[in-house]
Each structure stands twice: as C-alpha cells, then as structure tokens.
C-alpha cells in the first residue's frame, strides 16, 4: 500500500503494484486540428491538435489548451482525417511563383519610358 507524504494519496489506499490492462488504440480517441483567432478581423491560425471523441469536446479541449492564456476571439476544430494537405516533396510546384513578375505591381516599370518621352518632346 502506498504511504505518501500527501495524505490524499495515502487515503486512496493504492497498491504499489496496481497493474492495469494496457491502453488500446483509440482509447484516447482521434485528433482534431485546432485553429485559433486572436481577435476579430484576424486570420484563424493553426495552433496544434487535441484528442477528442466528438467536435463539441474538441472545442472544449481546444479552449482549455490553446485559449486559456492567449487572447481569443474564436476557435475552429477540424478532424485531422478531413484535412487534405500537399506533400513537402511536391514543393517544386511552388518554385516558379516568385518568377512571375508579370502579375506583380513591381513588374511594371514605365518611368524610364515616360522620362525619355518627356525629354524628347521638350520644347
């Protein structure tokens, strides 16, 4: 029997070898991805996961784990199983993005032409 410095533990009369059946898969349920919005107007940001048996409990745990200290306006939970993600190995599909200057404001430089035109037509 465990005799503890903590009287609450001693009162529980716990056997020292209180072996229990091992946990089995899904004992801790599936996971939900948690998205946290700090204040109205901000984007929701992914902050981590919680284990929960249903979406309502996932919201409750999400509040406890991610909204307890942070300022929070709103929380979303999404089943991990419902998130479809791109592969990091396919990151090359994003590679040409910075090269596409024709769709950026900085890709259009007209001042040279205007100045040249003005100079040529002066007087």
């Amino acid at each position: 029997m465990i005799k503890s410095l903590d009287p609450r533990v001693t009162r529980e009369k716990i056997e020292e070898n209180n072996l229990i059946a091992p946990l089995t898969p899904m004992d801790n349920w599936e996971t939900y991805e948690v998205f946290h919005q700090k204040k109205r107007g901000d984007q929701h940001m992914h902050v981590g996961i919680v284990h929960a048996p249903n979406p309502e409990m996932a919201l409750l745990f999400g509040k406890e784990q991610y909204g307890r200290r942070n300022i929070t306006a709103n929380i979303w939970v999404v089943k991990t199983a419902h998130v479809f993600a791109s592969e990091y190995d396919d990151a090359d599909m994003f590679e040409t993005t910075p090269e596409k200057q024709y769709r950026e404001a900085g890709g259009y430089k007209v001042m040279d032409k205007i100045n040249k035109y003005k100079k040529a037509n002066k007087g």
Binding site: I2, S4, L5, D6, R8, V9, E12, I14, E15, E16, N17, N18, L19, I20, P22, L23, T24, P25, M26, D27, N28, W29, E30, T31, E33, H46, G48, I49, V50, H51, P53, N54, M57, E64, Q65, R68, R69, K79, T80, A81, V83, A85, E87, Y88
Partner: protein, 329 residues
Amino acid sequence: MYGNAYIDPNEKANAMIAGEDPIKLAEFEARIARGEKIEPKDWMPKEYRKQLIRMIEQHGHSEIIGALPEGTWITRAPGFRRKMALMAKVQDEVGHAQLLYSAAETLGKSREDMTNDLITGKSKYSNVFNYPAYTWADACIIAWLIDAGAIINQVANAKGSYGPYCRALDRICTEESFHLKYGHDNVVTLATGTPIQRQMVQEALTRWWPPIMHFFGPSDKISQHSEILMRWKVKMASNDDMRQQFLNMYVPKIWDLGLVLPDPNLKLNEETKKWDYTEPDWDEFKRVINGGGPCNAERLAVRRMAEERGRWVRKALYNASEKYVTPLA
C-alpha cells in the same frame, strides 16, 4: 553539405546511420545545416525519428509526473493567491504534456503507446520528480530552480530541427516564465522572512541541490552519440554546457539571498570563467532513475490509478466508427 555520400558501416560513429540512403541522408543534413525545419512527413533517418520520439515523449512524461509533487501542495499553499497561482502552474504543466505528446505523435508513436510505456516503467521521466516535496519550501524551490533548469533546456531545444517540437516549446517557454517568477517570489518571501521560514527554505535548497545538479544529465564524458545528434539539431547543447549556464545564472541569485549551497567546491573559476563543482554522484542518479528513488513507486502507482479510474469515461465516449489518423503538425 555535410559528409560525403559514402557511409562506411564499419566505422563505429556510423552505426546510427547504417542502412540509410546516402543521397536522402545528405539532403536531410543539408536542410538542417541551412537552418530549415524538418516536418512530420519529410524523409528522416530512423535514428533521428527514434531519438526524437524518446526525447519528446520523456519530456511529456516529466510534465505529467512533475505535476504530482507540486500538486500535493495546492491545498496547503499559504494563502488564497498562492493556491490559485500553484493551481494555474500545475495546470500549465499538464497542458505542456498535451503539447509534447502531440508533437511526439507526429513521428508515429500513438499516445496510448506512450502512456503504456510510462505506466509500465519502460519510458523514463525527469529524475528529479522521484524525490518528494517535504515542505512548502520544497515546492517553492522546485518552482524556481527546477523550472529555471527546464527553461534553459527548452530554450535551447526550441532552436532544434524538428518543426512540431520547436512549435510546442515556443508555447511552453512563454508559460514557464510565469512559473520562474512565481517560484522566485516564493523563495524570496521565505528567505527574507522569519528565522523559521529562512531555515525551511535553506533545508529545502540543501535537499534539492543534488537532484538539481543531476537535472541536465550525465557529464558529456559519459554521454554517447552526442556528436551526430548535435549535427542533426536534436540535441542543441551539451549537458555540461547547460549545467554551466544554469550555475552562471542562478548561483549568484541564490547567494544574494544569503543562502548556502551544500558544495564546498562550488566557485567561479576566474581562469576558465566556468564553475568548479564537486562531480555529482552519478551512481545515485542511475540508482534513482532505475526505480530506486524515494518516490518512483508512488508516482507510477498514482498515474496508473488515474488512468484506470478515468477509463470508463473515455470508453463511454468512444465511437467505434472513428479512425485514428496521425496528426499533421
């Protein structure tokens, strides 16, 4: 880029990377060398995965078990404000375990397996929690100095290479700063209080000094595999370096309060600018970590009791049609 493509399996230092695809390994090491993070679905050496699971899981267990010696003092903390603060701290620690277990899960070990390995004694947790908190002052010393040690360790590891672990540690470090201030405040209150309070905090400090010196783990001379784990940014600082950093930051603060540390050899070496100290008793450390400490049996028995008594709730909410999917990040 680190190393070349050929791995000589007979080289002893290469045992950890034996059998790995040399090209993938080189890409992996180059990514880390560039300061990029590794994410869960990336290719990684088997040993990287294994060591990270072991480390993050143990860290999670330490948060759970660490809540026990401190939780003992919630009902007996002096004054309502300290009760509220200690309750918040213990709640934080349990929350940290949730974050850490989540990070370890992304590497492919289920939370159920982690709990099983904890309650059967297969996985370890921080050795300091195998010692009891005899008095309120012990709880104060833990909150100040053990959390101080934990912050040094966690701030270092937060710059590591594994994305999910770094993200968890960033959150954890923010909360730990409150623990440290709270612990320091309590120790200062006792140390500047009545003669009985001073004696109580001095005795607690004397009791906790050896476990605190053990906290960062065995000396680098004994520790194995360090080099490759540091290259992979799994281990960010050597045990001895972290211990030195701790002594540097906290010994002066302890001495400021006129408290005495139970090591006559402890002093700052003016030449090396490092702290000299009596080598901690590593046999005692091994004896306690392998089950011989004053509280090992109690800690695990209490954890098993909690697991068993809460089981019916989890079973009642269990939905057989759901399937487990490894979390994304």
